[in-house]
C-alpha cells in the first residue's frame, strides 16, 4: 500500500513543486521544495509565452461541441439500436461500435478534410473527434437503455406522446448516469489528445492546449523550462480533475453498468 502510494505520490509531488520553482532550480528536476517560491510568475510566463489562455479557449471551442454531438447523436442512435430488433439494426449497431476496436485512419482523414475544405479548421476537428468517439457513447448507452423497461415508454405512448417527446422526457433523463460517464470519457480523450490535433489542426492560432504543451516541451531542449512544462501540466489537468470530482458517483455507476454487465 505504501509502495502504491509512493508510485502515485512522487510524480504528482514532482509536478507540484517544480511548477513553483524558478528556472535555475528547475533545470534538474528533483523532489526538493523550492528554495524560492514563484508559482505566480511561472504561470504568468506560461500564459504569456506558451499562449496558455489562447490554447485553453481553442481546446474549449473544439472539445465542448464534440462532446455535445457525441452525446446527442449517440443517445439517439443508442435508443434505436437498443429497442429495435432486426438484422439491419444489428448490423448498423455493429458498424457503429466498430470504432471501439478499429484504429482511426488518421492520414486519410486529413486527405478527406482537405477535399471538404475542413482541414485545419475547428469544424473539421470536431467532426473527427465526433466520428472517433461516437462508438464509445453508443456502446455504453445502448447497454444502458436495454436495461430500462419498455413499459415506461409504453405508458407515455398511451398518453399520446410522440417519439421525440418520449426520447426527450423519458429516455434522456434516465440516461443521466451514463451521460456523465460518456462525457468524462470523451472529454478526457479529446481534452488531452495531441496526436489527431496535430494532423488535423497543426500548430497555428487554432492550436489546442496539448499542442501548446507539446510546443513548450519541445523547446525544452534549448531552454530548460521544466517549470513552464509543469505549470502547463497543472493547468491542463485541473479542469478534468474538477469535472471528475463533481460527477464522481455517476461516472462510477455508469462505467459499472456499461462495462461489466
Amino acid at each position: 500500500m505504501l509502495l502504491a502510494g509512493l508510485a502515485v505520490g512522487v510524480p504528482l509531488w514532482l509536478v507540484a513543486v517544480t511548477s513553483a520553482k524558478p528556472q535555475a532550480e528547475a533545470i534538474t528536476p528533483n523532489l526538493d521544495l523550492p528554495r524560492h517560491w514563484q508559482p505566480g510568475s511561472n504561470y504568468e510566463e506560461a500564459v504569456s509565452q506558451g499562449e496558455m489562455l489562447h490554447g485553453f479557449l481553442n481546446s474549449l471551442l473544439v472539445v465542448v461541441p464534440s462532446v455535445a454531438l457525441v452525446l446527442i447523436l449517440g443517445a439517439g442512435a443508442a435508443w434505436v439500436f437498443a429497442r429495435r430488433k432486426s438484422k439491419l439494426v444489428a448490423a448498423a449497431y455493429a458498424l457503429c461500435i466498430s470504432g471501439l476496436l478499429l484504429p482511426p485512419a488518421v492520414i486519410t482523414v486529413v486527405m478527406e478534410l482537405r477535399q471538404l475544405g475542413l482541414a485545419g479548421t475547428r469544424p473539421g476537428m470536431i467532426a473527427v473527434y465526433t466520428g472517433m468517439y461516437l462508438s464509445t457513447s453508443v456502446f455504453f448507452m445502448t447497454g444502458f437503455i436495454r436495461a430500462i423497461p419498455v413499459e415506461l415508454e409504453e405508458a407515455a405512448r398511451m398518453d399520446g406522446a410522440s417519439p421525440l417527446r418520449i426520447f426527450r422526457q423519458i429516455i434522456l433523463p434516465l440516461l443521466r448516469p451514463v451521460i456523465a460517464t460518456a462525457t468524462i470519457m470523451v472529454m478526457l480523450y479529446a481534452w488531452s489528445d495531441v496526436f489527431y490535433a496535430f494532423f488535423v489542426l497543426g500548430g497555428g492560432d487554432r492550436a489546442t492546449l496539448p499542442l501548446n504543451l507539446y510546443k513548450v516541451a519541445s523547446a525544452q531542449l534549448y531552454l530548460n523550462n521544466w517549470h513552464l512544462v509543469f505549470a502547463y501540466v497543472v493547468v491542463m489537468s485541473l479542469p478534468m480533475v474538477a469535472i471528475f470530482l463533481v460527477a464522481q458517483r455517476k461516472i462510477v455507476s455508469g462505467i459499472t453498468s456499461g462495462a461489466v454487465k
Partner: protein
C-alpha cells in the same frame, strides 16, 4: 422468451387513435423508434470514421506526398520501401510488445489496487480517487513527468544517488515506457475490477468461508472466475488501446533510443511531418490490419473463456 414476447406484441393491432390509422400499415418499431434518431450518428460516423478507413485501402498504393501535386497509382512501392528500410517489421514488433506489456502492467496494477481497496471504507474511497488521478492527467503530460523523473539528472537518480540513463537503453526503455503506460491507466482498470468485485454475491463469499477456504483459495475459486467479464473488458481495451499509443512514447523517448520505441503512430507522425503522406498511410493500413488480426481472436477467445468459467 423475451424475443417471442416482443413478436406477439408486434402482432397486436395498433390502437386506432389519432395518427395511428396511418401508422397502422407500418411496423410498430418504425413508429415508436424511428430510424431518423439513429441516422445523424450513422452519417457522421460513416463520413469521418468509415470512409477514411476505406480510403486507407487506396492511398497507400499511390505516390501521394507533399511533393506530388497529382496522385498516381504506384502499386506496392510504399510497402517495399518501409519493408526494406526495416521500419515495417520493427514497428510491428515494437507495437505488439508495447501493447502486451502495457496490458499486463495496467491490469496487474489495476487488479492489485482493486483487491487492496475492495472494502468500502472512507480511507479506501479516498485512495481510489487518488489512484484515479493519473487517468485524468493527459498522456502527454504523464510522459513529460516521467521523462523528468527518469532523466539522467532527474529525480529518480537524485533520490537513489545513482547515475543511470534510464531512458537510454535500446532493450529496457520500451519496458519502462510500458510501465508508465500501466501507471497512467491503472485507475481505470481498478474501477472496472472494483465494479466486478462488487457484483459478486456476498453469499458466495460466505459459503466459501464456511467451506474453510482461505483468502488465496477464495480468490482463485470464487473471485477470479467472477471477474471474467471485467477482465475481458479490461484486457481488450488495454491491448487494443495501447496499440494506438502515441503521447506517452513521444513525450518520454520520442521513439528513441535508436528507434527502439518507435511504434506505428510515432512512425506515422514522423513520416507525415516529412510530407510522405502515402508512406505514412501505408503504415496506418498495416496498423489497421494488425489490430484486426489481434482483436478478433482476442474478443472471441475471452468471450468463450467467460462462458466456460
Amino acid at each position: 422468451m423475451a424475443d417471442t414476447a416482443i413478436r406477439t406484441r408486434t402482432q397486436k393491432p395498433v390502437p386506432a387513435k389519432g395518427r395511428a390509422g396511418k401508422a397502422g400499415r407500418l411496423p410498430r418499431a418504425a413508429v415508436h423508434h424511428p430510424w431518423w434518431f439513429a441516422l445523424p450518428a450513422i452519417v457522421v460516423f460513416a463520413a469521418f470514421f468509415l470512409v477514411p478507413n476505406l480510403l486507407n485501402f487506396y492511398y497507400p498504393f499511390t505516390n501521394w506526398s507533399s511533393y506530388h501535386p497529382d496522385i498516381a497509382f504506384t502499386g506496392l512501392d510504399n510497402f517495399t520501401t518501409i519493408a526494406q528500410d526495416g521500419s515495417l517489421l520493427r514497428a510491428i514488433r515494437t507495437t505488439l510488445l508495447y501493447a502486451l506489456l502495457a496490458a499486463v502492467f495496467q491490469n496487474g496494477f489495476g487488479l492489485g489496487l482493486a483487491l487492496l481497496l475492495e472494502a468500502d471504507t472512507r480511507f479506501n474511497r479516498f485512495f481510489r480517487a487518488v489512484f484515479f488521478l493519473p487517468v485524468l492527467i493527459s498522456a502527454l503530460a504523464t510522459g513529460y513527468v516521467f521523462q523528468s523523473l527518469f532523466n539522467q539528472d532527474g529525480a529518480v537518480n537524485g533520490l537513489l544517488g545513482t547515475d543511470i540513463p534510464w531512458l537510454g537503453s535500446t532493450t529496457w526503455t520500451l519496458f519502462l515506457v510500458t510501465v508508465v503506460h500501466g501507471w497512467k491507466w491503472m485507475g481505470l482498470s481498478m474501477l472496472i475490477y472494483l465494479a466486478g468485485l462488487k457484483g459478486i454475491p456476498g453469499e458466495m463469499l460466505e459459503a466459501a468461508k464456511c467451506d474453510g477456504a482461505g483468502p488465496w483459495r477464495t480468490f482463485w475459486s470464487v473471485r477470479w472466475p467472477m471477474l471474467a467479464p471485467a477482465l475481458t473488458f479490461n484486457v481488450t481495451t488495454a491491448l487494443i488501446g495501447s496499440m494506438n499509443t502515441f503521447d506517452i512514447v513521444q513525450a518520454t523517448t520520442g521513439g528513441g533510443p535508436a528507434g527502439s520505441t518507435e511504434v506505428f503512430n510515432i512512425y506515422m507522425f514522423r513520416i507525415f511531418g516529412q510530407g510522405l503522406y502515402a508512406q505514412a498511410s501505408a503504415m496506418s493500413l498495416v496498423l489497421f490490419l494488425v489490430v484486426v488480426a489481434v482483436a478478433i481472436p482476442l474478443v472471441i477467445g475471452l468471450r468463450r473463456r467467460e462462458q466456460l468459467l
